[in-house]
C-alpha cells in the first residue's frame, strides 16, 4: 500500500492511499485504505497523516484521524504517530502497522509497531531542503 501526504507552500494539505489489499482475503473484504480517517486524513488546520499495515486492525482505530487530532492539539508529528501506534498496541500488541504524520509547518514523523520481523519502517520524504526524494527509517516502538 502507498499512503501519501502532500503539503504545499501555502499550507494546503492532501492525503491519499492506493492498495490491492491483503493477500488471499475473503472476497469483498476492504481494509483501512479507502476509509477517510483510517487510511489517510488531511486538514489544513492541523496537518495530515496516512497509515499502512494490517487494515483489519487499523480500520478499527481511525489512526490517521487520531494522528491529525493529536497534531491539532499541538503534538509534534513524530509524537502524534507514536501515540497512535501505542493506542493500537494496547489492544493488539502484535499488529502490523505504521503511520506517517506531517503538520502544516512541514515538520514530519513516522512510527511503527515493533514485531520480530518488523523492527524498522522505511518512508520517503521530499521537501525544499532536499534536491531529491530521500528514504528515511524509523525504529519501531
Amino acid at each position: 500500500t502507498i499512503g501519501m501526504v502532500v503539503i504545499d507552500k501555502m499550507g494546503h494539505t492532501a492525503a491519499g492511499t492506493s492498495t490491492n489489499g491483503l493477500k488471499f482475503k475473503i472476497p469483498g473484504r476492504v481494509g483501512d485504505s479507502p476509509i477517510p480517517g483510517a487510511g489517510a486524513y488531511a486538514d489544513d488546520l492541523a496537518g495530515a497523516a496516512a497509515a499502512t499495515g494490517d487494515g483489519d486492525v487499523l480500520l478499527r482505530f481511525l489512526p490517521s484521524y487520531q494522528a491529525v487530532e493529536y497534531m491539532r492539539r499541538g503534538e509534534d508529528p513524530a509524537t502524534a504517530c507514536q501515540k497512535v501506534i501505542s493506542r493500537i498496541h494496547e489492544y493488539f500488541p502484535e499488529f502490523f502497522g505504521a503511520v506517517i504524520c506531517a503538520n502544516v509547518t512541514g515538520s514530519y514523523g513516522a512510527a511503527c509497531n515493533k514485531l520480530p520481523t518488523f523492527t524498522q519502517f522505511s518512508f520517503m520524504v521530499y521537501n525544499s531542503l532536499r534536491n531529491q526524494p530521500t528514504e528515511e527509517k524509523v525504529d519501531c516502538i
Binding site: 502532500v6 491519499g16 492511499t17 473484504r29 485504505s33 522505511s122
Partner: protein, 181 residues
C-alpha cells in the same frame, strides 16, 4: 525557512514521491500531486501491494482500494473493492470531483468508473495467478477464517459456521510485510 512544500509517503516508493513533487513543482495542486504519485505506484505495482496483479483474494481476483482527501475543502473521494479498473486513485479522484458522495464500492464502483471513461480490464497477471494456485496447493494457508468447519487451519473451504472455536488455535501468523493495506 519552512521546509514546505512537503511530500511524504509510506515505504521506499521513490518514484511516487518524485512524481508528486514534480506535480507541485510544476504548479499542480496538492490533490493532483497525491493522485499522480499514487498513480505511479499503481502502474509500477509497488512491491506487489499496489495496483493490478497483486494480493489476489481467495478466488484469485485482484481488487483495489483507494482514497484521496482534500484537506482544504474537507472533501474526499474513495473506492473500495474496485474490480477490473486499474487506476483506482484516478477513480477516487472522480468520485471527489464529480459526486457529493465519499465512497463507492464493488461492481457498481466499476460501472461508475466506466462512465467516467476508465477501461474495464482484467487485473490478474501470471504472477497473481501463480500466487493463487500456490496458495490453493498449500490447503489455503494462511486465511482469515475462524470458528468455521472444516478446520480452516488445515483445509480449504467452503466453510460453514461451526460455533466451535478452531479445532486447533491458529499459530501466530508470521507477518508478511509484503502483504499490507
Amino acid at each position: 525557512s519552512s521546509p514546505l512544500p512537503l511530500v511524504l509517503n509510506t515505504w521506499p516508493f521513490k518514484n511516487a514521491t518524485n512524481a508528486a513533487w514534480q506535480t507541485i513543482a510544476s504548479g499542480g495542486s496538492v490533490v493532483d500531486a497525491v493522485e499522480n504519485g499514487c498513480t505511479v505506484c499503481e502502474a509500477e505495482q509497488c512491491d506487489g501491494t499496489v495496483g493490478f496483479g497483486g494480493s489476489p483474494d481467495e478466488l484469485g481476483e485482484t481488487t483495489l482500494d483507494a482514497m484521496i482527501m482534500d484537506g482544504t475543502a474537507m472533501d474526499v473521494g474513495a473506492v473500495g473493492g474496485l474490480r477490473r479498473i486499474k487506476n483506482a486513485i484516478g477513480v477516487a479522484r472522480r468520485v471527489l470531483e464529480h459526486t457529493t458522495h465519499t465512497l463507492l464500492v464493488g461492481e457498481s464502483a466499476t460501472k461508475f468508473a466506466e462512465s467516467m471513461g476508465f477501461t474495464n480490464e482484467d487485473l490478474s497477471t501470471r504472477a497473481s495467478k501463480t500466487l493463487h494456485s500456490e496458495w490453493l496447493a498449500q490447503n489455503c494457508q494462511p486465511n482469515y477464517w475462524r470458528k468455521v468447519t472444516p478446520d480452516p487451519s488445515k483445509y480449504c473451504g467452503p466453510y460453514k459456521p461451526s460455533g466451535v472455536l478452531e479445532q486447533g488455535i491458529p499459530a501466530y501468523k508470521e507477518v508478511d510485510i509484503h502483504g499490507h493495506d
